[in-house]
């Protein structure tokens, strides 16, 4: 009951007029920052950090937390509406969100994303409230072997993502892995794959540069070709009956929502993982465990619900190592951490006892921000739908400008804009040749996380792979990952055996 009184005290702080105003403003600003391709929560929080020097520390973190939350909701909007992930965390949302919008179900997809975000955020914040200290202890013991096992599991859930053409899928994965390896190699300390000695490659190829190129520029070119500049999407008028039917259908996705929420949260609390792998894994899991996996990627509402619940739960989860270990679980929490130092607060194992007002005010504000973000988001849906009714000849230049800005802002380097345009054109051609692009995007996200973890593990063990199996957490995850990896082979083997036995009846 001690937690309850602390939380109530936190709510009193969150409901102070200044803090409540900051929550509402933060959620709204965050929503639009998240909806802008490439801007995302990281840059939103970094740009607005100086504004928080003007308010007390608790208000400051509440404001930045609300922006982070709003951006998590907003990321889904451009994923669904334009097919461009608003942030890395919303990549998986494009896989089914965009096809839904093209089918004329944009309203349903947007409501599904908002609801799933709300559920994910709520589950995340409740877990945070109840189990923060013990979960922090678990996060602390997670080392390189556990992280590699987890990344392997993420890859395994995506084996079927590329469709049937296995050589083309592998090609796409390898391209992504190579791009992910550009830049500084931490383990050897040497720069690698610096093409033509261009200094811009020193910082590696930002995942967003590839994602915006492929999903923004390439998609735009593709749509111009097939739509000839006309209105792309016929959106049915929104009626009460339609809303009720959508909500009823949404209610049937509760299992996926909960799966995404828990998975996202636990991936989110691991230092260095963050919400992007969490949402990708949730999508992969939903697809793998579905009874009709073939409908994924063609506008299945579960494919929107899974990543959206996971990324919000993960963003709450990422706050845990930030507050209790002083280790950011995602780039955005890294900036929040910098902010806390500026405000004179030292995050770490003692923050709960040293600054209870701050911590519980912040946790309570997450409950409030989650609710407001949902309401604000749903309120804006008709406006977003209106945008879709514009002819593509008007939309295309807007998308193009958003893509350029999105490519430039994260690094403030024109190098990345040129690279993004090249990826866009190449992506368009690859699409014409029927290469699946999602595996490349997945590989560029997970590769740079998996590779150092693998090498660190093998350094520790002296080259022995047993390190992945003789540690309890790593062992369990590894076995699950291998099972998932070989699951798609199972029907093949079964078929062959079945064929044999039918050929030789005895």
């Amino acid at each position: 009951m001690e937690i309850l009184s602390l939380l109530l005290n936190g709510f009193a702080i969150a409901f102070e007029p200044l803090n409540l105003t900051l929550i509402v403003v933060g959620c709204t600003v965050g929503l639009f920052i998240g909806a802008m391709p490439g801007l995302g929560s990281v840059n939103g929080v970094a740009i607005l950090l100086p504004m928080t020097f003007l308010v007390p520390p608790t208000g400051a973190i509440i404001f930045l937390g609300a922006i982070y939350y709003g951006a998590m909701y907003g990321g889904a909007i451009s994923s669904i509406m334009l097919g461009i992930p608003g942030a890395s965390t919303a990549v998986a949302t494009t896989f089914d969100g965009r096809p839904m919008a093209l089918k004329g179900e944009a309203d349903k997809a947007l409501v599904a994303a908002a609801t799933a975000s709300f559920v994910g955020g709520s589950v995340g914040v409740v877990l945070f409230t109840l189990f923060a200290p013990p979960l922090a202890e678990i996060a602390l013991t997670f080392g390189a072997p556990e992280i590699f096992a987890l990344m392997l599991m993420a890859f395994a859930t995506f084996i079927g993502l590329g469709g049937d053409d296995i050589p083309k899928t592998l090609f796409s994965i390898f391209i992504g892995l190579v791009f992910g390896a550009v830049g500084l190699d931490i383990v050897s300390g040497e720069p690698r794959l610096i093409f033509f000695d261009i200094p811009g490659f020193f910082h590696g190829i930002n995942f967003l540069v590839l994602a915006i190129g492929i999903y923004g520029i390439a998609e735009m070119l593709w749509t111009i070709e097939i739509s000839q500049g006309e209105v792309m999407i016929s959106q049915a008028t929104i009626t009460v009956r339609r809303i009720l039917r959508n909500l009823a259908e949404l209610a049937r996705t509760w299992k996926t929502m909960l799966m995404g929420s828990f998975l996202g949260y636990f991936v989110g609390i691991l230092p260095a993982a963050g919400a992007t792998p969490g949402s990708l894994m949730a999508y992969g899991f939903a697809k793998t465990t579905s009874r009709e996996p073939e409908t994924y990627g063609k506008g299945n509402v579960h494919g929107v619900v899974a990543p959206e619940s996971a990324n919000n739960a993960a963003s709450t989860g990422a706050m845990l190592p930030m507050l209790t270990l002083g280790i950011p679980g995602s780039p955005t929490t890294a900036i929040l951490l910098g902010g806390m130092v500026i405000w004179g607060l030292e995050p770490g194992p003692l923050v709960f006892t040293d600054h209870p007002d701050f911590v519980w005010g912040f946790i309570a504000s997450l409950y409030v921000a989650n609710l407001f973000a949902l309401l604000i988001n749903v309120g804006f849906i008709p406006a977003f739908i209106w945008v879709l009714r514009l002819p593509f000849s008007i939309l295309a230049p807007i998308i193009f400008i958003l893509c350029i800005v999105g490519g430039f802002v994260p690094t403030l380097d024109m190098h990345d804009v040129w690279l993004m345009l090249i990826f866009g054109v190449v992506g368009y051609l690859m699409r014409k040749l029927d290469y699946p692009m999602a595996p490349a995007v997945l590989a560029i996200v997970l590769g740079p996380l998996a590779e150092p973890a693998l090498r660190q593990s093998l350094l520790i063990s002296g080259g022995s792979f047993s390190i992945f199996f003789n540690r309890p957490f790593a062992g369990v995850i590894m076995v699950l990952a291998l099972a998932l990896l070989f699951m798609p082979l199972y029907p093949m083997i079964k078929n062959r055996l079945f064929k044999k036995s039918s050929e030789n009846p005895d």
Binding site: I47, L184, P271, G326, A334, G338, G348, P349
Partner: protein, 328 residues
């Protein structure tokens, strides 16, 4: 407002954020002032020690209205700072380009001569601090002094894991020193960033680290990790129980500089302005408090004295890298 219009999108956002501060700045006798937002390059990633320090400096400038134009932090961590060095060397507007540096300011040009970086061409603005290093172990290991550490590490041989930040980094230099000085065979495992390294020790995925105080402070206060030796000339006030290696008979002192550097070709007037500004910041209550809390050492250095310090440090680093075999 014309100047703001010219600056990039980020500058615009910051310009708006600082809008209030801009109008109220008193124009005193200083001839030169920034005419547009100042690009403040960080040669490390978001959330690291250098990044936190720059954002803290930014907050002091903003809170005390020390500049009429905002300072915009830009992270360029690529290639151990190679990207940042090249960017600043080729800065289009040297009067509005600053960089916050680590020891990679010396080591990266030494290790990558192809970049063509000569640090003596950069403009010395101000050394804000020197960060210190300590040897840390987990409290549960029962180790309380360097003798016990050496005995345990000897026994474990190459199974003793020392976590650090990247090959040939400051941490690697210190690990090599310990291995050589005490005849050890510790295995060095590189991670991304000092915070992550600190966590690996607290989570018992490593046996020891050579973290900066600020990185381990939280775990130390929570009773998870303990410092057993300091790579400083005298004991640190925050960690009085950790003897220096000098006291233990090994003369090894190592610092990490935290210095503000101006782009090559910065005008005299601009140089004088930034030198005065960072002197003011260094003396401010905010920065002095930050130094004390993070256990940062060293006084303010600027101008010729700072240049002399750079060139000396460069030779020290060259000697260390040679001994390690990282350069010829």
């Amino acid at each position: 407002m014309k100047a703001i219009g010219k600056a990039g999108l980020l500058g615009l956002g910051l310009g708006l954020a600082f809008g209030i501060g801009m109008t109220s700045v008193a124009k005193d006798a200083v001839a030169w002032e920034p005419k547009k937002p100042v690009e403040f390059i960080i040669m490390a990633g978001k959330g690291g020690g250098a990044d936190k320090a720059v954002r803290f400096l930014q907050s002091i400038i903003a809170k005390n209205k020390l500049s009429s134009k905002p300072f915009t932090p830009v992270n360029k961590p690529g290639g151990s700072g190679a990207e940042a060095l090249v960017h600043v060397k080729n800065a289009a507007d040297p009067d509005h380009t600053l960089m916050f540096t680590l020891n990679s300011f010396y080591t990266t040009p030494l290790r990558q001569p192809k970049l063509g970086i000569d640090i003596s061409t950069f403009t010395p603005v101000g050394r804000m601090a020197e960060d210190t290093f300590l040897l840390w172990v987990h409290k549960d290991s029962g180790i309380t002094n360097v003798d016990q550490f050496v005995a345990a590490a000897k026994k474990a041989g190459n199974k003793w894991i020392m976590a650090g930040t990247g090959k040939n980094s400051e941490d690697n230099i210190l690990t090599d020193f310990l291995n050589k000085a005490y005849g050890l065979d510790m295995k060095y495992v590189p991670y991304k960033g000092g915070g992550r390294v600190a966590k690996e020790l607290a989570g018992k995925n490593a046996n020891s680290t050579v973290n900066n105080p600020s990185e381990q402070l939280g775990f130390y206060q929570a009773g998870k990790t303990v410092p057993i030796g300091a790579f400083t000339p005298t004991r640190l006030p925050l960690f009085k129980d950790a003897p220096t290696f000098r006291e233990l008979g090994k003369d090894f002192v190592y610092f990490m500089q935290r210095t503000v550097v101006g782009a090559p070709g910065m005008s005299k007037d601009a140089t004088a302005y930034y030198q005065g500004l960072f002197q003011k910041i260094f003396n401010s209550k905010g920065w002095q408090g930050y130094m004390k809390k993070k256990s940062l050492q060293g006084g303010f250095l600027t101008g010729d004295a700072l240049m002399k310090y750079w060139l000396e440090q460069k030779e020290v680093q060259r000697g260390i890298l040679r001994k390690m075999g990282a350069i010829k």
